[in-house]
Symmetry: C2
Subunit: 383 residues, 2 copies
């Protein structure tokens, strides 16, 4: 049962942007003058909706989010910007708001244009369809290779509601805003507060996951507040926001393309955060480690080798590796029977803890295994 923050309506239609008969255009409407911020991909190649969204954030108020799947509208040049703006202008006209009060997002194939001739005729239905009940339809409209819609919610002690909707399955990588996510709240927050909270929460959630180390041209997270309820306890609100975004990040990894299991990698006792993150990401993005997890092979040599690939200084003799709390190696000696470790690795979720004995800093990253299905999905994605 989804409990929607006050002031928001949702809709979705099927335009046949890429495939017939599936929802591919979604709308979130904020009945009040909402306050918003966004974070975007760090890829040099930025999609048209990213460029427009970034510019629109300068507005003091925001009223809507328009998001489509099928076509990323990235690497589409001036024409891509023109088409996105035309679509936003039409939606704005129907909603009686300014186009710059809309936050756009797209996901899908790079280099193809938005088929306005199929989208424009459906915009009337899109706006007429707005309702509190259609959160899941919106979540489905932004899916690409996702196998399930991703929705999470929280309610603070003060009764302020938070709702998050996300998509993302492959092309998820570190150091960026990551995939598409829309965070809505009925709490009142000013722009500076929203900015600060979003940045902090992204750093602890979406920036700590990786599926394949590839980073998209379209990654976007918008945080939009309708401002109806007072946020009395800022700390409690922030904790709920982070917890909500961590749940969305978890769902994205769980739905990693072809993944059969989640791997929770925790680096312990590193010298500092930057090195801890480098160690964690080296393991998380190693194809050899990811395939070993797929095969439930406690191949700790590959884990050690991935740590060493960073070139960072550490003593292999000091490294302790735990699989689901079972000590795997210490002093480069195996400590637990291979069959026991294999059984742990066959679970749907495996925790990998690496103790470095260099300092006091911990860092956690979520990833998934690498399977034949990842290859199948991505070798034929456009076909």
């Amino acid at each position: 049962m989804i409990s929607v923050p006050e002031g928001f309506l949702f809709s979705a239609v099927s335009c046949g942007i890429r495939k017939e008969g599936r929802l591919d255009l979604g709308l979130i409407f904020c009945e009040k003058k909402g306050t918003a911020w966004g974070v975007f991909t760090k890829n040099t190649v930025k999609a048209a909706p990213v460029l427009i969204g970034r510019a629109n954030l300068k507005e003091p108020f925001h009223r809507a989010v328009v998001a489509n799947s099928g076509v990323a509208n990235a690497a589409t040049g001036e024409e891509g910007i023109k088409r996105a703006e035309e679509m936003l202008k039409e939606v704005a006209g129907l909603l009686k708001i300014k186009p710059s009060e809309i936050l756009p997002a797209s996901t899908g194939v790079i280099g193809e244009h938005l088929p306005l001739e199929r989208i424009i005729p459906k915009l009337g239905d899109l706006v007429r369809g707005l309702s509190k009940e259609r959160v899941e339809d919106f979540a489905r409209a932004i899916m690409t290779t996702d196998t399930f819609p991703k929705i999470a919610q929280r309610c603070t002690k003060d009764g302020v509601r938070l709702l998050g909707i996300a998509k993302g399955a492959g092309m998820i990588a570190p150091n960026m805003a990551t995939m598409l996510a829309f965070i809505l709240t009925d709490g009142y927050l000013n722009k500076e507060e929203i900015k600060k909270m979003l940045s902090k929460a992204v750093d602890q959630s979406f920036n700590c996951i990786t599926v394949d180390g590839d980073t998209s041209t379209n990654d976007t997270v918008y945080f939009l507040a309708s401002g109806i309820k007072e946020v009395r306890d800022g700390k409690d609100f922030t904790e709920n926001l982070i917890s909500l975004m961590k749940e969305l990040a978890y769902l994205i990894v769980k739905d990693g393309e072809g993944a059969t299991k989640i791997i929770r990698i925790r680096i312990k006792e590193a010298r500092n955060k930057s090195e801890a993150r480098m160690f964690a990401m080296a393991i998380a993005n190693s194809p050899l480690v990811k395939t070993a997890f797929y095969g439930a092979d406690p191949n700790w040599g590959r884990i050690l080798s991935a740590l060493g690939k960073t070139g960072l200084d550490f003593n292999p003799l000091n490294v302790e590796i735990f699989l689901n709390d079972k000590l795997c190696i210490k002093n480069l000696q195996v400590q637990t029977q291979e069959e026991t470790l294999k059984a742990e690795m066959q679970k749907d979720e495996v925790s990998l803890v690496v103790r470095l004995k260099l300092g006091k800093v911990s860092y956690e990253v979520l990833t998934c295994d690498l399977t034949e299905d990842y290859i199948k999905i991505n070798a034929s994605y456009r076909s």
Copy 2:
């Protein structure tokens, strides 16, 4: 027909290091006092043979190479060093040379020990088996997931011979000495010449290939000269050396785990070599690009996105992408019919040229596609 440089003998035996009945220990003996140099992995975790080999290079002369497959003798601590040294001592005794005149190398599973109880009894056979004819046996003894032995040869205008033997299929990655390779020549070169030539040739060959972006704990290239013939034309010799090592690098990529095709990525008109290399490696290591090549999908958006992932500045509008000399995109517009590009991508070798229009520097990297077989091989490698 292999034409062996003068002064070298080869041998190989089957010790059952990991699997019964396959050659897994090889020996190269230099009848004269040879001169040698080596380059090694940059991984922080260095295998015992890498540590010993690096120390032994301080000797003025070298007489032998001992290499095994099955066990990498990496992450094996003091005991790993001790076992490797014991093996070298035994071989040295039989060959009547100093242990420090032997250059060791290992490849295989990390974290397991050399089974001396199975190796030592075979060392007599190994030394007795030495012969000019057994180059291929040596090449087979160092294979792991390799599907064919890798041998290349050259002869300079002066009649100086060069022979190269290599192994490597997965775990091949940039910025390192890469896999195992042994380069032999009957030319006379002093240590400084060997050092300089090897470094230059590695930079242009093994450092320009990547299979999966993972870097091994054991990568080693040794260059050993028996010194029998005069090298009159140093430039001609160096060109032959580079060409030989490029051929070995090509063979390694061709035998990339699970690969169905070679991708030759050439970045043109970059600002400098370092950026050109970053762009080339970002494409070469992108799982999404590699799977698209596997599926013969001219998905240029993924190529552009991989370029952007570097965070380096460039204008997507200026980028031209060619597949086998067919112009794919210009001004973000597709220039050649998809079916034509698809047909090109179905070939065994595909050239991908990216023109950036930023400067004058070119850089080339070889890689292979990413297939279900890579996953199968690596999910079950230890089993």
